[in-house]
Structures are given as C-alpha cells and as structure tokens.
C-alpha cells in the first residue's frame, strides 16, 4: 500500500469548534438552517417524528421509517448536527420542514438530550408514513433500486463514499462498498486509489465546525483496509488524504465529508 498525506494542516486548524466571530450570509436562493441541537422525538398515532429546536423555532427533521430511508433519525442521548434547507411544505408534527436535510449524530454522549413528547391529536400525520411502526407491508419503505451495473471494463470509475460529520464507515456504507468491490472484481482492477477528505460545516450562527484533524487519513486507510479485508488483494493501493479541511460555506458542506475511490482496470 502506498500512502501519503497530500497537504499539511495549518496550525489554526484544530478539530472541533472554531468561531469565526462574525455571522455570515449563507447565500443561495433557499434559506439554509445549519445548527447543532438536541433532537426531540414526538410520538404520533402511527410513527414518531424527529424534531429539533433552533433559535426559538421548531424544525421537523424526519420520520421514523426503516434502514432504506435517505435520512435516518438521530439519537436521544446525543446532539445532532443539522444541515437543512427550509421547505415550503406544511409543518409536520408542529415543525418547519427541513428538506433536504443531512443529520450527523455527535459522538460524545449528552444526557441532556432526552426529550420525548407524547402523541397529541393535533400533531398526527396527515399522510400515510412510508413505513408503519410494526412489520412492513411486504416491502421496504424506500426503493433504492438495484446497484448500478458495472461500467465498461475499459473505463476507470470513481466512487464517492459519503460520511456523517467526523464519521467513519458505518451501517449505511455496505452498499457503496459492495459496488466498489463488485466493479473492481468485474474489471480485474489493477489499481485502487483512495483519497480521504476532511470536511467542515458552516453553521447558521456563523461558527464553523471542523472535522477531526486525522479524519481524512483514517477514512482513506479504513476503506483500503475494508476492501482488502473483503479479499480484494490483487490491485495495488494508493492511499492519500487531505489534512486541510474544505472551506465551509454553509451550502451543502456535507459534500466535503467524503472519500473518493478510483478503480482503474487492468
């Protein structure tokens, strides 16, 4: 395995929270709401809603559904980083709808995040949820479709592995890892190049959250380890990473939390 660091992190870049000292305009046509808060769960007559408060407003994050959902609910006992766009949809469970929204559970426990609200008739859903609270109705909640077919064997293909804030591989990565593995086997890959990135998130209060200083390295090395652990051992591996975080703008900053895996055929 060949590994090296692409850039050195500056002295001012330490993992965690950095205050810019000034509020910023997040720009864009749609109002963005990026904040860290305790999640709140509100029961309904069917499935629970997940909400969060920010600056005196209640926001709707997502519904309980199943593992196929594009947005998976946060956890009580932990704060959550919310990166969302205010939608014009009617309120759900009393909350302003953020859609699309990206949620990252903050790893350190926070026992103060423990609010469970009982069901109230006024907050019952006005639509059928994608998945009932009991067993499924014979299907998963969301149809993610089959995996993409392998590209022509002569071409190089790049895969993006997305992450939660400060996250490594978790339950939702089996699919993309399998796609990479299947493609590499189909093209008898000569080389797998993995590039790990370190992200940052601009919050609506002007602060910037920067991921752990070593996260780019750890992401790249972990993906290499997992592919090799799945017995993809014949290609040569190039493992690279970025120590400097991406510049955060408050617009789709979640895209900066990634690894890019490029598979080159033999």
């Amino acid at each position: 395995m060949h590994a090296h660091r692409l850039t050195r992190g500056g002295a001012w870049l330490v993992a965690g929270w950095l205050a810019s000292g000034a509020a910023v305009s997040l720009g864009g046509e749609e109002p963005r709401k990026n904040f860290v808060s305790c999640p709140i769960i509100r029961d309904t007559a069917s499935v629970p809603c997940w909400l969060a408060e920010y600056e005196g407003e209640l926001y709707f994050l997502t519904l309980q559904s199943d593992v196929t959902a594009p947005v998976t609910p946060p956890w009580l006992g932990h704060r959550v980083l919310v990166e969302g766009t205010v939608s014009a949809e009617p309120r759900i469970c009393g909350g302003v709808v953020l859609k699309p929204v990206h949620l990252s559970v903050i790893a350190e426990p926070d026992a103060s995040c423990n609010t469970m609200l009982p069901a109230e008739a006024r907050y019952n859903l006005t639509f059928e949820p994608p998945r009932p609270p009991g067993p499924s109705k014979g299907r998963l909640a969301f149809d993610n479709g089959p995996s993409a077919p392998p590209a022509p064997t002569s071409s190089t293909r790049a895969f993006v592995v997305p992450y939660d804030f400060d996250g490594l591989v978790g339950f939702n990565h089996a699919r993309v890892l399998t796609e990479i593995l299947d493609f590499a086997r189909a093209v008898n890959a000569a080389e797998v190049e993995i590039e790990g990135y370190r992200g940052a998130a601009r919050l609506s209060n002007g602060q910037t959250m920067v991921e752990d200083a070593t996260i780019g390295k750890r992401r790249a090395e972990q993906v290499a380890m997992l592919l090799q652990g799945a017995n993809l051992k014949s290609p040569s591996y190039k493992v690279r990473w970025h120590d400097e975080p991406a510049s955060a703008t408050g617009i789709d900053d979640y895209l900066s939390r990634r690894a890019v895996v490029t598979v080159r055929p033999r």
Partner: protein
C-alpha cells in the same frame, strides 16, 4: 371383524408410540440406536418434534454421535435430540444425579467453572448445573481468521471473578496464553438452513457496521455470521472443527469425511414443538403453518418477515376466534389456542420504545424507535435476524444484566464474572454506554475488538424453546416468563398480565 379391530388398535398404539416417542432419555455417545425419521419428545409444555428430512439415521459410527475426542463426549452430548438439539438445564441436572457427576458432560475443560477446581464437587460445576453454562475460553487480544493479532479498541479487566478462572495464573488474563473465560449456553444444531442462509442481508460487508463479513473458507462466499453467540465461526464445518477442538478435546483435527457426515446431518435435522399441553396438536393438517418441523423444512430461508406475504411466524388467521361447545376439554383447548394467536399478535404488532440497543438503534432506525418484537426478530420462521445478528439488549451489559443484589440480608452471591471495559483514547465512546462499560460477557467484542460490540450477542432462533430452558446466552432467564419479564423491564413496555401470558404461550408453541 374383532380380529381386524384388535389388529387396528395394536397398529394405532404402535403408531402412537412411534409418533410420540414419549421419552426424554439421555442420548449417550456411541449408544448406536437409530435416530428415527420423526420422533416426538416430551417436555413440560407438550412435545417437541424432531424431523430427519433424509429419513432414519444410523448413528453407529457416526461422528456426531460417537466419542471422537479424548474426553468421552460426542457432539450429541451437548446437542441432545430431546432438548431441541441443545441442552436443557433439566437434562444437565438429571445427568449429574444419574452419574454422580461422572458423565463426560462435566469434563473439566468447559463443564467446570474452571479446570483447576475439584471435579467431584458440584460447586465446581455450579454454572453448568444452575444455568446450563459452559466455559468458553477465548484468547486475548483477539485474532483474525489468519491468526494475526487484532489491536483491540479497549482494555479489559476482571473486576469480579467468582469462577476464579479469569484471574487464575494458568487460565486467566495474566497467564502465559492470556485468556478470557465467559460462560454461555449451547445453541440448537437444527433448522440450520435458516441459521446459515445466503439470502436477505448477507453480503460482502456487514449491514450493521460496514466491516467485511466472515467468509466460508471453502467457497469464499460471505456468510450470515448467525451460527454462534459471538459469530466467531462462520460455517457449520468451522463450528464443528472449533467444537471438536475445544469441547471434545480431539487429538488432531476432524477428517474431511467426518466433517462431511456431521454437517450433512446438521443440514437435514429440524426441530419445533408439535404439541402443547393446553392447545393440543400444533400440527394438524389445517392448522397454522408456523408450527412443527415439517413447516420449517418447507419454509423459505433468509426471508425478512412482513405482514402481508410472509409473517415471521405465519398463523394464516387460524385460532383467532374458535367456537365454544358443551365439551369443556374442547373449550379449554380452544382457549389455549386463542391465547397462542393473541401472543403472536403481541409479538408482531404490540409497539414499544426500543432504546439504547447497539446495532439496532444505531443502524438507521434512530434512538429510540417505536417498533415491535418482530423488528429485531424478523426472519421468517425462526425469529432470528436475517442480517448479521449481534445486538446488545442488556442481557450481559450493566445496568440491565441480571445481578444478585449485594446487601447484608442476601446470602446469594453473583455467579457471573464482571469485566470492566475501557475504550481507549482516540476511539469513539460506545454511543449508549460511554467509555467505561461493565459486562458479564463482552460477546462479539471479544472477537472483533471493537467498543461498539461490547455485550452484543447473536440472537438465537425461537424454535424448540419449550424443550431447552434456560434462555439468553447467559442462561439468565430460567423460564419463558422470566424472558418476557426481562424485556418488559428493559424496555419499560408495560405488558398486561394477559399479554405476558399470551406471549409465553406463543413462544412455548414454537
């Protein structure tokens, strides 16, 4: 005519005898009797049915039934037909009494709390006699499949060691070969097309954490990793090799022919309850298709249960409301059947808040999630997890694990070891238990070395429960009622008394 009638009665009687078996006799290694195509074994809640799908088995010379190791045990010693191909604590105690503790079942290697203890003293075997637990000795730190050492994410120390084994100079963590002893129940070696399926949820990467799945060393295919409590061996063959080495103390290794015969037997044997003391036959031709070993043989393996096409345990609407007559016995039977049907509905549809359970709340459902028993126990026909099934529901981790309250008015003492796990700096804390975790059995973490796996145990199939108490991997629930009560406490469910009894009756019918 009279002769015909007599003959008919005799045939019926013989048929009844063959069908019932009516015996719980211990199956000794090398006894050489054939294992019929179908046998029914008595238990306290009715009868268990054992089906050899390939027909009657000649056990003479069969490596599953012969003492092929050095300690006199066979596979069948701990996988008794009458006990749903595992071992009930009732059978263990009966065997102790019958042999004064001389049976190979009580071998020092794992049938004692620690091999250094006096063999004739029942206190040396207390975990086996009281809770049906065998000692599982695992190397620390853990090893990869290729034997290389895993750098664990946590440190471990034994803070309570009633068996003395974890602190013993020869067998413990500080020994020449550092070893951790945990104590677990054996699992049923039956219905294995479900425990080894290659269907939904099985892929090259584990759906709960993205790590590579363990593969079959012969085929290279990923496995469901649902065979053992800690998923340390991926296939029936590797499990047999592990068991022969560690439980039978075999010299050398199993031959290819022995492995083939053992796994061939294990692939065709099915067990399930076939009759209930209250509800009568569970396998009448027009009865619910969930019950009995023949339905297990016919079922689809590795399928996620739902409430339209494949219920986890399909009752097909039977027994929901049955008629009452002037016949008290029929009425009692029908009431018991209705209780089973209600218990099924509690299992499938009664929602409650599932909270802080690693590898359930952490895999995209949120914490907490309002769901039902069938959310985790979702595999059609067995109630296992279809995907790699280790979870922490608190059976071994504090604060939920059953512990003896220590106070001056209580003479009882804790039986289980207690380990303190400390996640190393630089490793994310366990999301629900923090950086320091106390556990009776670290479970999957002893194999993976990962903090998030501490106390996670692969869930077991629900079949033959009536024949094989106690329950949970650490035998902490002596009865099905205690099992239901554990869930009620752990998740603050608030079951009514009727719901509890219905659930117990349903589980006992499986």
């Amino acid at each position: 005519m009279a002769g015909l009638a007599l003959c008919g009665c005799l045939l019926l009687a013989l048929a009844a005898q063959a069908a019932s078996g009516a015996s719980r006799a211990w199956w000794a290694p090398g006894q050489g009797t054939p294992l019929p195509a179908f046998t029914a074994y008595d238990n306290e809640q009715g009868q268990l049915g054992l089906l050899n799908a390939s027909g009657e088995l000649d056990t003479r010379g069969h490596p599953f039934f012969e003492a092929i190791g050095t300690n006199g045990r066979a596979c069948v010693t701990c996988h008794q037909p009458a006990d749903a191909m595992t071992l009930s604590v009732r059978s263990i105690r009966e065997r102790w009494t019958a042999t004064s503790g001389k049976d190979p079942l009580f071998a020092a290697v794992d049938g004692m709390n620690c091999p250094n203890l006096p063999a004739d003293d029942p206190r040396s075997h207390s975990l086996l006699l009281d809770r049906g637990l065998f000692r599982i000795a695992l190397p620390w730190p853990p090893r990869n499949a290729d034997g290389t050492r895993i750098d664990p994410e946590f440190t471990i120390e034994a803070v309570r060691d009633p068996s003395g084994c974890n602190t013993n100079a020869a067998y413990g963590l500080q020994s020449a070969n550092p070893t951790i002893s945990v104590f677990r129940r054996p699992r049923p070696v039956a219905n294995t097309k479900y425990t080894t399926h290659q269907n939904f949820g099985v892929g090259p990467f584990i759906g709960k954490n993205g790590m590579p799945s363990a593969t079959d060393p012969v085929t290279g295919r990923p496995t469901s990793m649902n065979l053992m409590a800690d998923a340390r061996t991926p296939t029936l063959a590797t499990q047999a090799e592990d068991a022969a080495r560690n439980h039978l103390q075999i010299t050398g290794t199993l031959s290819a022919a022995q492995l083939a015969r053992i796994t061939e037997f294990e692939r065709q044997v099915y067990v399930a309850q076939v009759s209930s003391t209250g509800a009568g036959s569970l396998v009448e031709p027009d009865g619910p298709p969930a019950f009995g070993p023949r339905n297990l043989l016919a079922g689809d393996a590795g399928v996620l249960g739902n409430n339209t096409t494949r219920y986890v345990f399909p009752l097909a609407g039977k027994w929901v409301q049955l008629p009452r007559t002037n016949n008290e016995a029929d009425n009692a039977r029908n009431a018991a059947r209705e209780s089973i049907a209600r218990g099924h509905d509690v299992f499938m549809f009664r929602t409650f808040w599932i909270k802080d359970s690693m590898h359930l709340n952490s895999v995209g459902l949120g914490n907490p999630v309002k769901r039902t028993c069938a959310t985790c126990h979702g595999m059609h026909m067995t109630g296992m997890d279809t995907a790699n099934g280790w979870m922490d529901i608190g059976t071994t981790n504090l604060p939920w694990a059953s512990e003896v309250p220590l106070n001056p008015w209580n003479d009882a003492k804790p039986q289980m070891p207690l380990f303190r796990i400390t996640c190393k700096p630089g490793v994310k804390p366990h999301p629900f238990l923090g950086r320091v975790i106390y556990t009776q059995d670290p479970g999957r973490a002893l194999i993976s070395g990962q903090c998030n796996d501490v106390g996670t145990i692969v869930m077991e199939q629900f079949r033959g429960l009536a024949a094989r108490a106690p329950y949970f991997s650490n035998g902490s629930a002596a009865t099905l009622r205690e099992l239901v009560d554990f869930y009620d406490r752990r998740y603050n469910i608030g079951y009514s008394e009727l719901e509890k009894q219905d659930l117990v009756n349903f589980l006992g019918a499986l």
